[in-house]
Amino acid sequence: MITFTIDGQTVQAEEGETILDVARREGIHIPTLCYHPAVEPYGACRMCTVEVERRGWTKLEASCTMPARDGLIVRTNTPDVYRFRQSLMGVFLSRCPNVPLIQELAAEYGVTEPPYPTATPEEKCILCGLCVRVCHDVVGAKALNFSSRGVDRLVGPPFLESAHECIACGACSIVCPTGAIEIALEDEAIYKEKPIGPTSAIHVPSLQAVPRIPVIDTNACIRFRQNDLTDGEIADACGVCQTMCEAGAIDFDQQDELVQLKVGAIVVATGFAMWDPKELPDLGYGRSPNIMTGLEFERLTGAAGPTAGQILTAEGKVPKKVAIIHCVGSRDERAHAYCSRFCCMYSLKQAHQVKDKTGAEVYSIYMDMRTFGKDYEEFYRRIRGEGIQFIQGRPSQVTVDPVTGKIFVEVEDILLGQVMELDIDMMVLATAIEPPPDAARIASTFGLGRTPDGWFAEAHPKLKPVETASAGVFLAGCAQGPRDVPDTVAHAGAAALEAVRLFNRGEVTISPTVAIVDAVKCVGCGECIMTCPYHAIDHGAEGKAVVNAVLCQGCGTCAATCPAGAITALHFTDEEIVAQIDGLLDLVV
């Protein structure tokens, strides 16, 4: 243990710690520009300079690179130190006079004007080397480095050309203190948007996630990407999250675990996916960062979102005119013929939010207003009274001005019988919902049918909304079809109750039209087992087929398959059917 003092306070240090490490731990402030806890200290900026007295000698040292030693006396804010930092800021401000961080820090030391001539007023890079260190040590891509010397020194990829080692992870951009590095997408329109999705590879999916713990998106995570890209050569890039996690809860080696459960009931609550509006390009989704889906708008306006709930365009401005388009991809023969049911209500809510938060002109462009539920019509009336312009009609051509970014949309107001052209700053598309992309696989796994629109099939459209064709498998929520939150709660409650009902009874009533096997005739060939859509038949004693009468739904396909006639469909036996055939043909003379 090393003991020394900082500003008169006695502190302890481990072997290898620097003065800055200790100061930060003790909560003693020392300004830095080129320091970051995730990379080795570099000592480039010298802002962390402190006065160090040892054996009677006093020197100015960079605290980030000076190891702690027994008996040191450190002073972080003497007049010498202050003057030193002042002159440093003069240099920085002269190099980068228009960088807000430098301006603020310089102002702290009383430097408001650059004392020296400025070579490049737009310069943002302070040559702190954080991007280089991150790229080398944390990411392992080594795509950036310093080049040239003296006044020509700069940071960039080799020969300042696009480097294929760069994996576009954005670490350099995040770690850069002055915002000198921007991420730009090649071949795409200018996309300087605020992020609508998660802002880091490790993130909590949403505040309502269950369980509410972070997950790592292995497609974005630097560690996993580097491992894939280099075929395992760089297997431990970054890992900053693991280093920072105090609970030690991050395990990169986690593997999928296959768990076998024996259950009596299954509730399928697999929800929905959003339809991709890029499939119908006329509404311009993807041509402007200010054209977004209803779900993306929810993120924008949510208090936990990227703007803390302020409704701002991608340029950071408050929009003056906003259009909300209903039925995008719904009720549309080119996309989904069905109505997605809950979008009218949320679109009205969003219209209200825009009006309330920004006072902008709001256009609500709809086909029919579907506000069918309890108090929904009253809600619609209220919103109508808020000065929002309701236009019944369909939008067509959307154009985006490449210079101003303004969005122009043509819409026919069928009530007025006029075609209007609206120029707007922001457009929200209430996009359709659809079954998730793996719905076919889910259906086949659980023996579910699907209705023509792709949602899972309920046992009866009127009378059995939560049961399915497979006994013991129930549907909850949007898996069965579009519905909003109150309806989902009711539906899911019904599904839960049906499942519980199975357990509470001591016995189960089943239909008598089940299949049974005559074990004497059966030779165990297994073709009936392969045929049964419900996997209700299995090999039993001596390999002969045995039907689980509770799973059997009585279709009789097995009976038609068995060449030996060893399996019978009760109440639809061969004898009964032949009797009908003979009877009918005898009657008709």
Partner: protein, 144 residues
């Protein structure tokens, strides 16, 4: 005086789709020929080659099998097996000199009453043009 030939057509109808479609056709007063002799099964998958052949043997001039559309089977995939069995059986009939058009497989949902009427009308006319089945059976004369 010999009467004009009236074909006898046995129709296997699945409970959930085609049988309901037939019911709906009746309710909507859409005409279906009386030559159709319906037999209800729970699923078109229940229809075995044996019972189709038995229908012919017992005196049917034509056999119609109607099930749910593929993907809509009430029992998920019962009709998949029908979709394979009937085409094979049709070919076999052709190989022994029985006109395969005497056996038809089609898909009629409960909502398709007009299709039921149309398919049954069409099929009865097809069989009428083919004439009585006895003409096609090779061993009729032996009394076998």
């Amino acid at each position: 005086m010999s009467e004009p030939f009236e074909p006898k057509v046995v129709a296997f109808l699945c409970n959930w789709c085609s049988y309901a479609g037939a019911d709906n056709a009746g309710i909507a007063r859409m005409p279906s020929p009386p030559n159709i002799l319906p037999i209800r099964v729970m699923c078109s998958g229940r229809v075995s080659p044996e019972m189709v052949l038995r229908a012919f043997r017992s005196g049917a001039d034509g056999v119609l099998v109607l099930g749910c559309h593929i993907g809509d089977c009430h029992y998920i995939s019962g009709n998949h097996r029908t979709a394979k069995r009937i085409p094979l059986l049709r070919n076999l009939l052709g190989y022994v000199g029985i006109n395969p058009d005497r056996l038809r497989l089609d898909w009629v949902s409960s909502a398709e009453a007009p299709k039921f009427a149309k398919v049954t009308q069409e099929f009865v006319e097809t069989v009428r043009a083919l004439g009585p089945m006895a003409r096609d059976s090779a061993t009729e004369e032996t009394g076998g």
